[in-house]
Assembly symmetry: C2
């Protein structure tokens, strides 16, 4: 019996490893294999800790795809030395993504400097960084996925706040770097948590088409937690019409993985196998 | 010495009464008069408590404008009886605004029903309510100001999430109700706190033009408070380029009041006169 037979319909399901951070990489890969989950989303820190080549072999031997490598970005420092250090760190992320065969590197572009009101300048520095990184990504055969974050994070995490804005930036940077047509090097993440509220999201998804490099799901639940980074909920527990978003992303031509990324302390404290069971059940009920 | 001589440049400054909720209406009016603040933003509950006619006389005798009446809205209930009750409450708000000579009634349109994922349906019910209210507002000579709320509030407070979306809805509803050209009955609030992150806000402000019925200021400060309704900061304490927004609103043709609306427990616990002094100082330093 192949893994796909275990849970038919899970071939496109990807488990982001931060959804169940208690698992080591071998545990993650083992449980995905056992349940028929087709891909994993990896983070650089645990990959480095386990070893880049070792991780690559582990994942390939299990027949899993790496739907994304999280993450690069943080391009907004007004200090030249810090900005340059971010470029260098992102170049390392590209090398890691190439070694892992990851579908894309997710870029969280960074927020505003404390005390600054220069949102426009911060956005310009993101553009400038991507102009450097896009050619380097193309050389390595790696794709950059710009992640628009919910506007709640505009000041401190990401000055890219809408899918449309991310798409326009991707188009601008890719055009300047003369990609081959139809093979974008710079694209976008559609993360349901960040974009669900946006009246323009449907039109932006259609316009994004082949630039959709990653589709991530979880749910918007209330009340918000004190640390809003950990406010994400399990699919089906909140307000997002995940099936509508999945249908729109599919209609735009996306055939890639559907990655479950949930940062939530209560889930992190729960039994990992039970969490994966719930992920699979809710994915089938609310996303597929 | 006239009030305007006390603090030159404050003629357009409006103090929303919830910024200093400890003051009674006579105290609010007295302090605005003494300092040269030109207008007040009023809330229905304290106005009703003090008396509608009494409030109207108090404000007019002091030579103050009423820059806005807060608030109507909450049109998203899927229950017909609740939706109808909201319409009736909003009709009362229109009568109150007419009696006060308020520049507009601010509409917070309402969020999603608990457990619902039907954002599109909730937005449709807002449209349907406005189609009923716009003609009633026109009859009374009252203007409806649609307030887009920060997307953090999409699920529970307002399914209008961007200025562009509010503007398009205002245009749709007003066109259907055949307003006289140039005299919109339905327009928008530009609240800096809610729209500052939006890459489209500059273009939306320009497009809004004479439909800008209210301009409100405070600041986006971090960390967010546990109750995000109370997370607003004093101008100059956060990340918003308020002068850039004020300049854009002016360039779009807005000549109305600039209303300071800050919900913040620490300010509410402070000495009211000191708060007003700070409002005036920060308004001069960061908005004018």
């Amino acid at each position: 019996m192949s893994a796909d037979d275990v849970h038919p319909g899970l071939a496109r399901l990807s488990l982001n490893q931060r959804t169940i951070p208690r698992w080591s990489l071998p545990e993650l890969v083992d449980h995905c294999g056992k349940t028929g989950v087709g891909a994993v989303g990896l983070w650089r820190e645990p990959v480095t800790e386990y070893g880049l080549e070792r991780t690559s072999k582990l994942v390939q031997d299990a027949g899993l795809r790496v739907s994304s490598l999280c993450r690069g970005g943080f391009f907004t420092s007004p200090e030249a030395a810090q900005w340059q250090a971010a470029i260098e760190d992102n170049l390392r992320a590209l090398d890691e993504a190439a070694a892992l065969g990851a579908e894309c590197v997710v870029l969280v572009v960074g927020g505003m400097a404390p005390g600054s009101t220069d949102l426009i300048g911060a956005r310009q520095r993101v553009h400038d960084a991507l102009a450097v990184l896009a050619p380097a990504a193309r050389e390595r055969g790696v794709r950059l996925a710009l992640e628009a974050l919910h506007p709640i994070f505009c000041a401190d995490r990401a000055v890219l706040s809408t899918l449309r804005q991310a798409l326009q930036l991707a188009e601008t940077v890719d055009a300047a770097a003369t990609s081959a047509p139809g093979v974008p090097t710079v694209g976008v993440v559609v993360d349901a948590y960040h974009v669900w509220w946006d009246p323009d999201v449907w039109s932006a998804i259609t316009a994004a088409g082949s630039r959709i490099l990653s589709f991530q799901v979880c749910d918007w639940v209330l009340p918000l937690t004190e640390d809003v980074l950990l406010a994400r909920g399990m699919m089906g527990d909140g307000y997002i019409d995940l099936r509508a978003l999945r249908t729109a992303v599919d209609a735009a031509g996306y055939t890639g993985d559907i990655e479950v990324e949930i940062f939530n302390q209560a889930l992190w404290d729960s039994d990992p196998e039970a969490v994966l069971d719930t992920v699979i059940e809710r994915y089938s009920a609310h996303v597929l």
